[in-house]
Symmetry: C2
Subunit: 501 residues, 2 copies
């Protein structure tokens, strides 16, 4: 088998090839497993598929740890088969979401930079298996990741045994773009020597303990494409507001034309906002992000962006076809790192990032909900938004001002769940404008948010709430009986609008 | 004047001595001022006093930036005189609090590690004056701070002019315990080279631009003592629970007998918990904290603690008399740093701190309120609790289970204000026990919190809420109409207890 020699250069491992079904049979009830995969990219595909099939026939419960969301329908298959006891730290699948919201799956919604610490300390796990997708294994015993690094390095280091899926459908030209750095045990750490998004500080693959490799499975299956939508009129307007804010920062002397390294969250809105930079005057851009979506490659193509660092590449179908066909073009301008490093507070603070993430809703005082619909039902998870928002130079949150055809206002009296507190949020953007709430007291923030962000249909309703709240006093005025009434009304009547009840 | 030569070694400055009244007269309406002072320690005293007097007679509004809380009654005097427009990032004075809650003073409740970034970028300010307490000025032009460093270095660097108060009542033996490090502009930073609480990485004083020194004022006035209460029976019990948790971590192999560098927040409960370590088996302790309270000196005296790093020393009256009389004993075991460094996410994450802070209340799912009574009225501010909690190895929050003679439950269905989200909180402690909520889903956390933390008088009431919430479903179950009803009931009837209404 040529293929085998080509991709498994460490001879000792060439005899460990197994089928996906064999590998899946090694997983026992009650085990904790670390899977590769981050924003649908670089997830193990064949073994999870075989495992889901097993789960359809027999009683099996496992704890599933990943980088972030899995592709290939895996989370959905797992949920349908009912094999997941615990799931962490992020997911974005509708069936898994339903299982989480019914209480069947215990979901731990965790900052993406921090799960590695829990794995290291055994707070999460201990992991019985790590199942990691790879381009191949080098002679020196380095596992070369594919389209994401995620938590694969820490999973491989701490799991008792290792199953490697070598995916021949992933672009082989990716070898060399990864930079794997292990910070080591707490209390014995040196500074992380990264001072620019371009810095390489680790190894080009994940060092593995060969004796732990239980099996190697062949796969040939591309990543699931990102369901990202192209920019629309509203997201273009939002991008315009954000650019105006950034222009103000340049005028104030806090940024120059190269801005600062940019981070942009998952999803269509964040992608569209980044896309807006294409026709702007800004140039020489760099990205230090967790995921590189479509817009980043347009920025690289145009020469606007010079370099991009992240933990994963997640593209829509047309972009995937275009970019991966000619990946060599981008090799020297990209690096993929463990999510612990792409999202590390030390680096985010040092580089002074501009962080742009999507909100589900925010309130009068700048508290942001990124995760829960009506305060109770999980959407996807906090992901890296907290890692970036807390430590960035600028924590910017974007959302359309309404959802569900206007029946939900995304600007509310009191956020029904809080993922980013008033202390952490710098700028809020909707299609109506931006509110720069830095160095403002809560009442000042409320005035600016009502003036600049709320949808006109909800403006007087929100102003009315604020007026009644102020009459009761306090640093952060609220009418406690009314604070969550918009969400309760939506749950009851299907709209947050007062006069339609 | 011998005194002058002794303390102002830089000859060029010896002629700039002024009275407090002269210095206060330089402050103009609308100015932004950075004052030294952190947890009542090392605050400028004479000039603020003269300024408050001016404010009683004339119309004057200024923005007041500090390290953290001021002593010497300054915040109260300022509030009474009505001279404060904006106040940031922390305060703990009852009169200032009233002015904040009435909306008269615009208070910006900010992470203590982050205000320096806003000063550097001009988001806060630009500062017209920095008014800094000092032990003296060296020949090389270093301003030697007193009992706190706080934001003094960044204020001195960025303010247009400088007023220095040399306080001869502060222990002169403190010279040499400060370590002033300036990280420099964002985007051009190197790693902060601190890998142990003992490391010295800066200068023994704050480098000042001599041409900016407008005046030097003599003062002889000790810091306001801390109003800390000695440990009582309940806080001893809480300390016991916390120690039991830590013992479990040692058993699990995550900590050893030296634990990890400790941070302990402001206040009696946090002090008492630290005090509990005195009679424990733990030893060789180090502290990397923002403020050193009474208990730290007992730990140093007993040999249990070997070294302590912070931004300020704040002691009760008896401790102040004892410690400052013989400060030479402690000199080699202490270092005081800028609050940006004592509270820096880079260092907190690297060192793997155990962080212990006080909560006002927490909810079923582990969200913590550190600042707002009944969701609206500001108490003191978030201080450093967010800096530490977010990035520590262990984010522990402690509170008695009830307040106001049992009329308030500190464990509630929905935190009425959220300063630390469910993603950031590891362990909750009351006098009834501890809840280790790491790697748990919300429903699992709720069960543990009800079982271990809530006061028995509220247990069935909270369980009832949780049961009704679960019946409605969701990842984080809530009954939206009821979620804030405990606070609303307290506001209306004076108690959160259901059957007493």
């Amino acid at each position: 088998m040529d293929q085998r020699h080509d991709r498994i250069k460490l001879t000792a491992l060439q005899e460990r090839v197994a089928t996906a079904e064999q590998a899946a049979s090694w997983i026992k009830d009650g085990m904790a497993i670390g899977f590769s995969g981050f924003t649908r990219a670089g997830d193990a595909k064949a073994v999870p598929n075989a495992l889901a099939k097993r789960g359809e026939k027999e009683s099996l419960k496992i704890d599933v740890y990943t980088g972030a969301s899995l592709g290939s329908g895996t989370d959905g298959r797992f949920a349908q088969a009912g094999i997941v006891q615990k799931r962490a730290p992020y997911q974005s699948d509708s069936l898994m979401r339903a299982a989480i919201n019914s209480g069947e799956v215990q979901f731990v919604d965790h900052h993406l930079s921090q799960t590695a610490e829990w794995v290291r300390g055994g707070v999460a796990g201990p992991l019985d298996f790590a199942i990691i997708e790879a381009l191949g294994i080098t002679e020196e015993g380095l596992l070369i990741p594919t389209t994401s690094v995620g938590n694969s390095a820490v999973f491989a280091l701490h799991a008792k045994e290792l199953i490697i899926e070598i995916n021949t459908a992933q672009p082989a030209e990716m070898e060399g773009i990864h930079d794997c750095f292990e910070p080591g045990a707490l209390g014995k750490r040196q500074p992380i020597p990264l001072v620019s998004p371009r810095d390489r500080i680790g190894t080009k693959g994940i060092p593995i303990d060969v004796s732990k490799v239980k099996g190697i499975v062949w796969t040939h299956q591309v990543d699931s494409p990102s369901p990202i939508e192209p920019p629309d009129k509203e997201t273009e307007v939002m991008a315009g507001h954000l650019l105006n804010f950034l222009r103000g920062e340049v005028e104030a002397g806090r940024l120059d034309q190269n801005l600062a390294p940019l981070q942009s969250g998952v999803g269509s809105v964040a992608n569209a906002v980044l896309h807006g930079l294409l026709d702007s005057e800004f140039e020489g851009l760099e990205l230090y992000s967790e995921v590189l979506q479509d817009a980043v490659f347009d920025l690289l193509d145009s020469g606007k962006a010079l370099f991009a660092s992240a933990s994963a590449i997640t593209l829509s179908k047309p972009y995937m076809e275009r970019i991966y066909q000619d990946f060599g073009r981008y090799r020297d301008r990209l690096v993929l790192r463990p999510q612990e490093i792409s999202n590390h507070p030390e680096i985010i603070r040092r580089l002074g990032l501009i962080s742009i993430n999507t909100a589900l809703e925010f309130d009068l005082y700048g508290n942001v909900n990124s995760t829960h619909v009506a305060g109770t039902r999980m959407m996807n998870g906090i992901g890296g938004s907290g890692d970036f928002g807390r430590n960035a130079q600028l924590a910017i949150f974007v959302t359309k001002s309404t959802a569900k055809d206007g029946r939900i206002s995304c600007v509310v009296p009191f956020a029904s769940h809080i993922d980013h507190t008033e202390h952490d949020v710098d700028v809020l953007v909707t299609e109506y404008g931006f509110a720069d709430i830095r160095n403002l007291a809560p009442r000042e923030r409320a005035e600016r948010i009502i003036a600049n962000c709320v949808h006109p249909d909800y403006r007087s309703q929100l102003q009315g709430y604020f007026d009644r709240a102020i009459a009761q006093g306090g640093h952060t005025p609220h009418v406690l009986d009314e604070a969550l009434s918009w969400h309760a009304r939506y749950t009851r009547t299907g709209t947050m609008l007062k006069n339609s009840t």
